[in-house]
Amino acid sequence: MTGPWAEALPWVIVLPLVGAALTPAVAVRHPRVAGFWAWGVLLVTAVLASGLVAELLARGPFSYELGGWAASYGIELRFDHFSAWVLPLAVLFVVIVPFSWRYLDHVMPDERRPPFYALLLLNAGGMIGFCVTGDLFNLFVFTEVVSLSSYALVAVGGRGLAAFAALKYLFIGAVSSLLMLFATAQLFVLTGSLNMADVSLGLGEIGSGTAVMVAFAAFAVSFMVKAAMFPVHVWLPDAHAIAPSPVSAVLSGMVVKVGIVGMLRIYQIYFGAEVLELGAFNLALVWLGAVSIVMGAFFAIFQDDIKLMLAYSTISNIGYIVLGLGLASPYAVIGASVHVFNHALIKATLFLAAGSIIHQTGFRTLSDLRGIARTMPQTSAAMAIGAVSIVGLPPTAGFVCKWYIALGAFEANQAPFGFALVFGALFIFIYYIRMLNAFYFQKPVHDEVAQASETPWSMRGPVVLLASLCLILGVLGGIPLNFVEPAVLDLLPFWGQ
């Protein structure tokens, strides 16, 4: 029944992980080779992922029993519409890695490149595994791979301060992983199995009880921490601002989405069992999402450092996605799922562009970067396009999702949240006006800015490519939307509507 590509499911996870294990060995003579090696591994992974997505389109969701054991007997990998997020993830990695080749010249000595690229590959492999696994404990282990590599990637660039931000991230992340393990153990005790489908059936028989509710709450809190939602977002701004720019692009764009995909998986388990009446939880999600949007935008306005501002705007955009999921109406959920990808794309553009500017001039604050557009036209244009799309103005990808989530809000007749969504995001544009004015319409103050030259092509290529993707997806937004729609429609009956 399954096509040839279904065989590649485990290898798409294992390839980056094994690639990482080999990176130090491959790059022992010339540390710089690690960058090209990582890029090659990710390219092959992207090809495998596209094959898997093609298989998904052809035959619908499919699963793969590891070790030949039947599903609940051994571990089962399950590739469904939400795990299709693996393909854009791999593609974004393939675009970001070339940027880091030249960017790292100022960030670290050459001998520390192999472990850096090993961490990047581990991060990618961990995220791919997380999206594909169908086993609860396996989910926990993959989360650990992703989190551990993220903690280190944050601290790789700076000195003491970066280590301190990374440690804060580590403590909060470790506690949230422990909560997830605790919840997994509880479900294991209740249902005797670790396979998600089995657990869902088991829960169906048990019916709702406090243990089931507490396990759900523990999962929810754990994934909220991973997704940096409002009350537990404190670790994100420092971590993402201090990390080197390609790492910030990966963290803000994709690692944060691990929380969202995790939330979706738990939705699938709990709603499959129709165990919990989720109206109350949806409402809580909607409120948390709305508050995250406004709060993230509000804090972003007062930052002077570009990357710190971009980190806060991540919190605001995660608020979008959560608001969309919480609204539980078809359009809102479609908008939210597509925003998972669009936000990764836009945030990667912004962070890489900001990274190139910091790389060339050494400055990070708006007041120092006045008049940069004259000397770095393409990068500033990419920054402008990213700014316009992160706020969700029409010709860009960000608008498509904002439109659908707003539509969903009114469809679920939650009008006030529709208004909050539309105007909450405009808040952040106040910062972007300041940024665009500073870049384009003011005279340079420092001579580094006046004489800055455009970044070399290995850095400028990805930035320009991502910026044009933002525009293209703004107009051709239909492709991801039509892809996600069937998945959402067959998941919605679960949604506690």
Partner: protein
């Protein structure tokens, strides 16, 4: 052992978890916070292993000496994996703490806050 409806073994695990959480949250020394984290990890592993135990069960090793009611092997496998995760997290945390100490000269949160 079900005094007033509570399973004491599980409650003990939760108490240990909360002790660890308190250490992590309240202590100002980074190393003590890390120890708190380890206590929490041990608590969760204890929870998993006690869940797998059966009345008068032998270790799940099919050799001469062991008899019928075996403890379930899956929790043990989970805990072994969990311990290795705990080790890795602790290793990275220690590396970061060494880094902070090297740069700032102290690992007390209060002193770190005053530095530039």
């Amino acid at each position: 052992m079900q005094p007033f409806g509570l399973d004491l073994d599980y409650v003990a695990v939760v108490v240990l978890f909360c002790v660890g959480l308190y250490m992590l949250v309240a202590k100002s020394n980074l190393l003590k916070k890390l120890l708190g984290l380890n206590v929490m990890e041990t608590a969760v592993f204890a929870f998993i292993v006690t869940a797998g135990m059966v009345e008068g069960g032998d270790p799940p090793i099919m050799v001469a000496g062991t008899s019928a009611p075996f403890a379930s092997p899956i929790p043990h496998a989970m805990v072994l994996t969990g311990i290795v995760v705990a080790v890795s997290v602790t290793a990275v945390a220690l590396a970061l703490i060494v880094q902070i100490h090297a740069h700032f000269g102290t690992i007390e949160i209060d002193e770190l806050k005053e530095l530039p």
